[in-house]
Amino acid sequence: MEIQELERKSIQYRKAILSIIKKANAGHTGGDLSCVEILNVLYNHVMNVSPENFTDPNRDRYIQSKGHSVETLFTVLADKGFYPEEELDTLNQFQSHFIGHPTRKVNGVEHNTGALGHGLSVSVGIALAGKKNGLSYRVYTLLGDGELEEGSNWEASMSAAHYKLDNLVVIIDRNTLQITGRTEEVSQLEPLSDKFKAFGYAVRETDGNDLAALVQVFGQIPFEKGKPSLILAHTTKGKGISFIEDQVSWHHHTPTDQEFVVAMTELQQAEEAWQVQYGTR
């Protein structure tokens, strides 16, 4: 998909994400918005996965280890046609499978996540099975930066390098915030790139909210033969809404009526600007 089309999708995804969060009055707004471009590029440009091939053993896999950013995943999967968008109106409602973290009860979700530090080990297992079966699929897994404080990620990283899983792509949503504050103030992660290199990854850093940059970096995978690829994606938590960006208070704050109107107005203006630049009127 062309970058300009992806740009429009990002705006539309943000509208949908805020709308379902507003309706449910729950959601992880900040982390949802920081990874919109990553999921947009993965599902619309990079991965070979769709409702039609979802049972194909050679489909690409996406494991969202930072499960709390589920509203973004659900929005993108609806856009891909895994289920009607209206089903998202049931988010967090009694007996709905659309809950605050991904579950396989929702079509298109590969693995149940939510507790942090689980997705990478599972992804290593799927990638290893791909190698053993001689299949060409890749496994993409998205981790939060705060999530890296879980030691299990580093266990999994050792296996990823040990088994030379160059079919594994780890993306870090490096928005520098976690629920308590800056990651560096809660538990120092830096020098993050050096740590990942030391654990055996081939590492690339990029602007994780820049669609063109993401398209370019995903196009280089595998970064190095025989090594797992890791994208350190520098993002802004709450990206796209002026008063939500880089605010720790928006980790799982949900918009008031007034905030919602302002946010949707900003997105509407962004979409109109897109129309002016690319649209056919």
């Binding site: 053993p57 396989r104 080990s121 599972v122 297992g125 799927i126 079966n133 266990e155």
Partner: protein
């Protein structure tokens, strides 16, 4: 009863045979192929063994990922570490995600003897009974071990199988029917029935022989599947026998005894009842046999418990 092999060895032999027949069978180990008797498996089927190193959380997570692609995955680690260190991976990545990994807890209970509490698994039944969507099998002898491993291959649910590492006597005739979820009745008696699980079953059988010599009518059930519990078998035992005693190499809290007691009470049955296991205290140190003897999990100790319960209830 004739002494057999350690269940651990039977597990390893069975797994090698199955691995040779099923090339999609994978064994995942955490620096435990030696203690799991899987060295030969690794030599004969090197493509079918995945070494994770000393990292149990990762071991279970990777196993879930492998099994999600259709591989038949046996995740092997000492029961203590497998069910405590990686409890959340079992809960979320296996049970909740509904991926039929076979979790194999080796050297279970107090098998590690004087290595101490860090290495004992007296919590695993209780912990995993409280997790939705995982079944628990605890084989008594070589026969049950082989049957359990064979049955696990295509078992549709997440499964935990645990056993010890010492040689155990043959409890069953090889022609016995084995089915996960269906208890095996070894003896029927009207005074007392031992409902035992795992490698305490042979001790219950020997206790029964002692009691019968003293004119007490005694039954024994091998409750090899702890979850789902064969409630019909428990009910039948409570109707056939006046006294029920459960036996397990596990904490007295949350295991077989609690499962049976809870079921019977809710059925309105309140037979004289005793749970024999490891009590909630700083546990005594020693070899496996010494620890079990200290807590009365010997033929003599079990027989004494039975007599105590029978005679307290019916004073002569």
């Amino acid at each position: 009863m004739e002494l057999g092999k350690p269940n651990l060895e039977v597990f390893a032999d069975t797994l090698l045979e199955l691995g040779q027949q099923h090339r999609d069978l994978l064994v995942v180990t955490g620096d435990s192929r030696g203690s799991g008797k899987l060295v030969l498996f690794g030599q004969k089927l090197p493509e079918q063994i995945v070494e994770i190193g000393i990292a149990e959380q990762n071991l279970v997570g990777v196993s879930a990922g492998l099994a999600s692609t259709g591989k038949k995955v046996f995740a092997v680690s000492p029961a203590s570490f497998l069910t405590a260190r990686s409890f959340e991976q079992i809960k979320n990545d296996v049970a909740y995600s509904d991926i039929p990994v076979k979790l194999i807890g080796i050297s279970a209970g107090v098998s590690y003897g004087a290595l101490g509490t860090t290495h004992h698994s007296l919590h695993d039944f209780a912990a995993l009974r409280a997790v939705n969507n995982i079944h628990i099998v605890v084989p008594a002898d070589n026969f049950e071990t082989r049957k359990a491993i064979e049955a696990s291959l295509d078992y549709p649910y997440p499964l935990y199988i645990r056993f010890g590492k010492k040689a155990v006597p043959h409890v069953h005739d090889p022609s016995t029917n084995f089915e996960i979820g269906k208890a095996i009745k070894l003896k029927t008696g009207s005074d007392v029935t031992f409902i035992a699980t795992g490698e305490t079953v042979f001790r219950a059988v020997e206790a029964c022989n002692l009691l019968e010599g003293q004119g007490i009518s005694c039954g024994v059930i091998s409750m090899h599947t702890l979850k789902p519990l064969d409630e019909a078998a428990v009910l039948e035992a409570a109707r056939d026998s006046r006294v029920i005693i459960t036996v397990e190499e596990h904490s007295i809290h949350g295991g077989l005894g609690c499962a049976c007691a809870s079921f019977l009470l809710q059925e309105g049955l309140h037979n004289p009842f005793k749970i024999i296991g490891i009590p909630d205290e700083y546990n005594v140190n020693g070899s496996q046999d010494e620890i079990l003897e200290y807590y009365g999990i010997t033929p003599g100790g079990l027989a004494q418990s039975a007599r105590d319960l029978i005679y307290v209830e019916v004073p002569e």
